[in-house]
């Protein structure tokens, strides 16, 4: 009970501070408040800890999880202390009391596109993480079912990557001969 109370008061402090003057950090990670939407920028090491803290603060549902490929957008604006990487994993969390949203953006490097799974915290991210693996090739470590979900199991490549060309691959059926 006392732990919960502390966590709640911490959350209130953090929110009050945001309204007064946007601070550089919340939950120990950089934060921005663009267009009235709070965005947290943890790195991969404190990703799970941040999500755990958010869950303890009443964010009951992870409504969305998706990837972004920033291949041609290396110069994008990020808060100080966040190094841009090619991939981002974006998690949208929803709290019901009071109703509010927050978003978590994690930078994932191209050389090592792995990140921890959220399955144990929010089992509803199972399909969304499978989709992100399917579309971007981002590996979710310790995911219970790391398989393709939308593309055929024998598909080569990850279609939503920016270097996956549009229109150069003909319509392809399984078993038919194809150039790739």
């Amino acid at each position: 009970m006392s732990d919960e109370a502390t966590a709640q008061s911490d959350a209130l402090d953090a929110e009050g501070a945001i309204e007064a003057d946007p601070p550089a950090s919340a939950y120990g990670v950089p934060v921005t408040n663009e267009r009235d939407q709070q965005v947290l920028f943890p790195d991969r090491d404190n990703y799970i800890a941040t999500i755990e803290a958010l869950k303890a603060d009443g964010f009951v549902s992870a409504v969305d999880l998706c990837g972004v490929d920033n291949l041609t957008r290396a110069h994008r604006s990020l808060p100080a202390g966040v190094a841009p990487e090619r991939f981002e994993v974006v998690v949208s969390l929803l709290a019901h009391e009071p109703p509010r949203r927050t978003r978590v953006r994690v930078q994932v490097p191209e050389s090592d596109p792995t990140i921890a799974t959220l399955f144990d915290l929010y089992p509803g991210t199972e399909n969304l993480e499978r989709e992100t693996w399917d579309m971007f090739g981002i590996v979710f470590e310790n995911h219970p079912d790391p398989s393709r979900i939308l593309m055929p199991p024998d598909w080569q490549g990850h279609p939503l990557r920016k270097d996956f060309a549009v229109g150069t691959v003909p319509v392809q059926f399984k078993g038919a001969s194809a150039p790739r």
Binding site: E34, R35, Q37, V39, V60, S61, A62, V63, D64, C66, V68, D69, T72, R73, R76, S77, V90, S92, L94, H96, E97, P99, R101, R103, F119, D120, Y122, P123, G124, T125, E126, N127, L128, E131, M135, P144, D145, S147, R148, I149, L150, M151, P152, P153, D154, P159, L160, V166
Partner: protein, 432 residues
């Protein structure tokens, strides 16, 4: 927001967090299941058997394939296999301009296309930092609620048919057609309207729209009451649905489930009331909740929500303000056709909008609306150009599909059809 009773409050989400063989989700390689030559089963042995259902089964609502682990007639574990309708609409969205985007997204959830257009337009407008005129917002609210009625009536049609009340297909589709007739009169199309666009709506309401929609509102309530007579109180229908596919609110929240499934489990959460968008904060309506979270509650919630939508549409008719139906910013919305003959600037704006589109400031935004299936979200990233850099649609059916293995666990194979139907997935939205 509010938990109805102690049984729901004390419910646990332990069931959905299991990873191993004790989970209700059959996490096996879906490719090998389809290979008949690898199956080596002694029909007399008392071992579970893996059965494929779909993707072309008539009651799987399109191309949903289920891999079921059966022990006799009982389902042990299962896995929905999807992707048969995947057409890369998020990739397509990156090639189309913000102007063309609604044409693409409206084809995702083809039972409630206006919601897709709405969430895309809201995300674009949020990035642009513009606010559409009040009349456009009221028209959007009105059209979305009409669309919600038609979507829930389609559910009544398919749900009735799936559990054996085949004549419901006619009753439900009749109501849907009556609603679609109004939508066609306003937008020009029965489906895939491309009506709600960034900056407002495509066209103003036609002359005499009050009488048309008013006539619909007189027609619908007695026809919806027929469902109560034909289904709600009918013992066979109750036997088929009550207690089947129960899921509690804690499991729903853990799985990210929204919409009638979450509300059917007794948890009152509706974005229209709790995080209002458009003009829902000026409207009076009730959020419908169930108690047991079974198939019957989901049926009843959708039926009652259609009635609430009728209430909302009636209020929209009364409160519709005069004014512009779209933003008069010629950088975002095209000029009227007549102006092009008179004004060089109008011609240039028209040409620029339809060739290059309009540029949207750099940034990223997540916007969500309450579609008939739950929270429909759009995460949009702009790099400052005329095309979305990334356009991700958070499809409610895609997330809600994850409840199926848990609902089907230890159910009979006949209940599987009822459970698929009560989740009400639209495969166009699941696969995108």
């Amino acid at each position: 927001m509010t938990l109805l009773d102690d049984t729901t409050a004390a419910s646990t989400d332990e069931r959905v967090t299991r990873r191993g063989d004790d989970s209700a989700v059959l996490r096996i390689d879906e490719a090998n299941v389809a290979m008949v030559e690898t199956v080596d089963i002694d029909p007399n042995a008392d071992t579970p058997m893996i059965v494929n259902m779909g993707p072309v089964h008539p009651s799987t609502h399109g191309v949903l394939r289920l891999v079921l682990e059966m022990q006799g007639e009982q389902v042990l574990r299962s896995k929905p296999v999807i992707g048969y309708l995947h057409t890369g609409m998020e990739k397509t969205g990156e090639q189309l301009s913000f102007m063309q985007g609604p044409t693409n997204v409206t084809r995702m959830d083809y039972a409630s296309p206006l919601f897709n257009e709405l969430v895309f337009s809201l995300a674009t407008e949020e990035l642009l930092g513009i606010e559409v005129p009040p009349r456009a917002q009221w028209i959007r609210t009105l059209m979305c609620e009409l669309n919600r009625i038609s979507s829930h009536m389609l559910f009544q049609a398919t749900n009735g048919m799936d559990v054996g009340a085949v004549s419901m297909m006619l009753y439900g589709n009749r109501l849907r057609e009556e609603t679609l007739r109004i939508l066609e009169k306003i937008t020009g199309l029965r489906m895939n309207h491309n009506y709600i666009r960034p900056g407002g709506v495509a066209a103003d309401l036609h002359d005499g729209w009050q009488e048309d929609i008013g006539g619909l509102l007189d027609l619908l309530p007695p026809l919806i009451d027929e469902f109560d007579e034909l289904l709600t109180g009918q013992p066979i229908f109750q036997e088929r649905l009550q207690g089947v596919g129960a899921i509690n609110s804690a499991e729903c929240l853990a799985l990210g489930v929204t919409g009638p499934i979450l509300r059917g489990s007794g948890y009152a959460w509706d974005l229209r009331r709790d995080m209002p968008y458009l003009k829902y904060d000026e409207l009076d309506f009730d959020v419908i909740v169930g108690t047991y979270g079974d198939c019957f509650d989901r049926y009843a919630v959708r039926l009652a929500e259609a009635r609430e939508s009728i209430r909302i549409v009636g209020q929209c008719i009364d409160k519709m303000p005069p004014g512009d139906y779209r933003l008069q910013d010629k950088k975002v919305t095209p000029p009227p056709r007549a102006r092009i003959d008179e004004s060089m600037e109008a011609l240039i704006h028209h040409f620029k909008i339809f060739t290059e589109g309009f540029k949207v400031p750099e940034g990223e935004v997540y916007v969500a609306v309450e579609s008939p299936r739950g929270e429909l979200g759009c995460y949009m990233v702009s790099d400052g150009g005329a095309h979305p850099y990334r356009m991700h649609i958070r499809a409610p059916s895609f997330v809600n599909l994850q409840t199926m293995p848990h609902m089907m666990n230890e159910a009979l194979v006949a209940d599987v059809v009822a459970i698929i139907s009560s989740v009400d997935p639209v495969l166009g939205e699941v696969d995108r």
